[in-house]
């Protein structure tokens, strides 16, 4: 799978990313680094233990990374979780928001598998 195909596969805009980050090689390298980033697992972990401050930071990091790599669906769903956690313990159930985020994360991760095999 090429980088261009990858962005098509996850429903994001390849041209926007290439314009911002300059070259495909760089994008590929950082996409391949993405699975090693701990933000998602920290988010799961801290949500399970009701550590909302830490969960906020993890969601915030995830949002930042996915924005920079142009992983638009994940950027949007992690942004929603970030906002829900900004003021401390969420006022309503964030289950659906988190489910959306988890789904997007898994899609992106699976697609990266395809990228690394290319």
């Amino acid at each position: 799978m090429t980088v261009q195909q990858y962005y098509a596969a996850i429903g994001a805009d390849y041209n926007e990313v290439i314009r911002r980050l300059g070259n495909e090689d760089r994008i590929r390298r950082f996409l391949l680094k993405f699975p090693a980033d701990q933000s998602f697992s920290i988010l799961c972990h801290s949500l399970a233990e009701n550590q909302y401050e830490e969960a906020f930071r993890a969601a915030h990091s995830l949002k930042g990374i996915s924005m920079n790599l142009g992983l638009t669906p994940l950027a949007e769903s992690s942004s929603a979780v970030t906002e829900a956690l900004r003021a401390g313990p969420p006022s309503e159930d964030i289950g659906p928001l988190f489910a959306q985020l988890e789904g997007d994360y898994n899609t992106i991760l699976a697609a990266i598998q395809g990228l690394s095999q290319a």
Binding site: G22, K33, E54, F56, H60, S61, G64, N68
Partner: protein, 684 residues
């Protein structure tokens, strides 16, 4: 090759840091920090060797806003530009970062070109600004330098004609400065800033330049001037002022303006009877008033062609009595305040000790030889000092520390941090749980109290504290000093110092103390130590009863003779051991002479059972020698409450026991008063 600029990237996410590093590493050297605390540590270490900081806001431990706050307090923000990078788009976040001094704000998702351009532009801007600052500083220095030189030259011309050595000008400077400083301390009425004072001091040297136009025979006439001559002499004020006024294009110069006032009006009198204009009171500019007084004082205390030198005391009296003109009362108070200082300074600045003159000329030369170049060189030297300091600190095996009050950061030397199992950098040390584990809060507080007692003139403190080193208590000696900024004299800005492990020494000392108090054969107290301990016990007594038991071993001399001295020593050791076994903790057992021993024990109001028990346990068989003892006892408070008295009584009772055939004990009572003594020095 040109030195590359160094950028500090602060972000808790590794991906973000490496993406930025990837974008920037072709042009710049990169440092990375995972949170605010690491960032501050790197800033402290590299300081102005960091050209720019890229700062994330949301981070654990210490966030980006806190980093900016500390950079403000420590002044770093003025020399190191900060660009914040965040996925936050709310204006409150962005505004807050700008308010805290951030130069720029980049939103995520950022693009390569934007990051590179903004970083490049910001660094260029700051470099330009630094260069400009350097240039401005240099120009100001240059101007000061020329001012100073010209004033020196002009005033020396006048002095030369006057047949004087330049000392008068120097004295006027010194006295003017001392008077002005006292004046500032007394009143804010004259708006004298320190730069204004420097200006007046400099201008004061020009007070007599008008004398350049006075004929030499009048100027240096040994006798009294005629009325005509005096009239000519008086013109020097107006002429000096005129010279300055005619200086082309310089009317706007503050120095010229002040010098003009001084020249024209330094012979005015506060009562309005001076010349040339008859100004009165505060109509006379303060600069002229002060120089006028300085001039009079120096004229009185110096030898002139027409008069001898008066002593300081005589001169002061003449001035204060109004014999030499009329002055502003507050200035006269200043003169009295500064009196001894002025006398001292003027004496030092006289031909026998030209120290200050020499210093001044050296300073002038230094300034002229361009040694005081731009600030970049100073910064480079400063960095070298930092490296040296770190190197020595790492080798010294001492816990060295530095605390900055503005950033509230405690920095511990590398070795020290490892030794105490502390981080090298502790933010908000007063609240740090980690620090409290090592340095108990109460001790820490007392150390802070010590530091608060320091002053700029007396900044060093020392003390001893017990720290917990990996769980073990150990004694440390601390020596610390406070550093003070020149602007803020009320509070210190920094504390530096070191903790030295003195645990072994302390133990050794305790050991030596114990040895000094011991009898070497039996390890009981010796006589002197026993006396001290007993006196302490009596002094601390809260209505308790004590018995002083004094005994010796019967026929000990024959044991020595019969079985030898080694055996004799064994007997004494055996007795000592029995004593130790049969007294309670807190009681005192001592060997007070060859075979004489003493016990000082707390007892019931009826002491007899206890005494009998002690007597019997000390009697018995040691190898072939039958130990029996004779014992005398005195009671406290019954027989007295002073050590001497109790000892004397026990001694007499012991004598009585021996007289009655040995192997028995006697309580002191009136009947044995006056008996001869066995031991007591009182009767010897």
């Amino acid at each position: 090759m040109e030195k590359r600029n160094r950028i500090l990237i602060v972000d808790d996410t590794e991906m973000n840091r490496s993406l930025l590093a990837d974008i920037l590493s072709a042009e710049y050297d990169i440092l990375e920090a995972r949170d605010g605390i690491e960032a501050i540590a790197l800033l402290g270490k590299y300081h102005t060797n960091i050209s720019l900081v890229l700062l994330d806001i949301v981070m654990p431990r210490m966030d980006g806003f806190e980093v900016l706050t500390i950079m403000n307090k420590s002044g770093w923000i003025h020399s190191i530009p900060v660009i914040t990078i965040s996925a936050e788009t709310s204006s409150s976040y962005i505004d807050h970062a700008y308010d805290l001094g951030a130069t720029d704000y980049i939103n995520r998702p950022f693009d390569e070109k934007t990051v590179q351009r903004r970083v490049c532009n910001t660094i260029m801007l700051y470099t330009k600004q630094k260069n400009l600052e350097g240039m401005v500083t240099e120009q100001i220095l240059e101007k000061e330098r020329y001012n100073f030189l010209m004033v020196e030259i002009l005033s020396n011309i006048v002095e030369f004609r006057n047949g004087e050595s330049g000392l008068h000008v120097l004295h006027i400077r010194v006295i003017t400065e001392l008077l002005l400083k006292k004046l500032v301390a007394r009143t804010s009425r004259y708006n004298l800033t320190s730069s204004k004072i420097a200006l007046i001091v400099n201008a004061s040297a020009l007070h007599d330049i008008g004398k350049i136009s006075i004929p030499e025979d009048i100027l240096n006439k040994p006798g009294r001037l005629t009325d005509e001559e005096f009239a000519i002499m008086k013109t020097h004020c107006a002429i000096g002022a005129q010279i300055l006024q005619n200086a082309p294009n310089l009317q706007e110069e503050e120095l010229i303006r002040v010098a003009h006032d001084i020249c024209r009006w330094h012979h005015e009198r506060y009562d309005g009877r001076g010349y040339p204009d008859g100004l009165k009171g505060e109509d006379i500019p303060i600069a002229a008033q002060v120089v006028s007084l300085a001039d009079v004082y120096d004229a009185l205390t110096s030898k002139r062609v027409y008069k001898p030198a008066y002593s300081h005391e005589e001169s002061m009296r003449m001035i204060l009595r109004g014999e030499c003109g009329a002055f502003n009362p507050i200035l006269l108070e200043c003169l009295v305040d500064a009196g001894s200082h002025i006398e001292e300074e003027v004496r030092v600045n006289s031909p026998s000790g030209m120290s200050s003159m020499e210093i001044q000329s050296i300073a002038t030369e230094l300034i002229a030889s361009n040694e005081l170049r731009a600030s970049n060189r100073t910064l480079a030297l400063l960095d070298q000092e930092r490296i040296k300091y770190r190197f020595f600190a790492s080798m010294s095996q001492e816990v060295q520390f530095e605390y900055n009050i503005h950033s509230d950061l405690l920095e511990v030397s590398e070795w020290g941090a490892r030794y105490l199992a502390l981080p090298e950098l502790i933010a908000h040390p007063k609240q740090s749980k980690q620090l409290q584990k090592v340095f108990p809060a109460a001790d820490f507080q007392s150390f802070i109290c010590l530091l608060r007692g320091t002053t700029p003139t007396d900044p060093i403190v020392s003390g001893s504290y017990c720290l917990s080193v990996q769980g073990e208590p150990r004694w440390f000696k601390v020596v610390a000093r406070t550093l003070w900024d020149s602007e803020d004299r009320a509070n210190y800005s920094t504390v530096i110092g070191k903790f030295i492990d003195i645990h072994e020494e302390q133990l050794e000392l305790a050991n030596l103390r114990q040895l000094a108090a011991q009898d070497s054969l039996t390890s009981l107290y010796n006589h002197r130590a026993a006396r001290e301990a007993i006196e302490a016990k009596i002094a601390a007594n809260e209505g308790k009863n004590f018995a002083m038991i004094l005994f010796d071993v019967d026929y000990f001399k024959s044991a020595n003779d019969q079985f030898g001295h080694i055996f004799g020593d064994e007997v004494l050791k055996y007795v000592a051991q029995r004593m130790r076994q049969n007294i309670r903790q807190g009681d005192i057992a001592a060997r007070v002479g060859g075979d004489e021993f003493l016990i000082f024990a707390e007892c019931q109001s009826d002491a007899m059972p206890q005494i009998q028990r002690v007597f019997h346990t000390l009697t018995g068989q040691y190898k072939d020698f039958q130990i029996s003892i004779s014992m005398g006892i005195s009671l406290c408070p019954e027989n007295g409450e002073a050590y001497e008295r109790l000892f004397h009584c026990a001694d007499q009772a012991l004598y009585s026991a021996k007289k009655s055939g040995r192997n028995q004990y006697r309580l002191y009572d009136k009947s044995i008063q006056g008996f001869l003594s066995v031991l007591s020095p009182m009767d010897n």
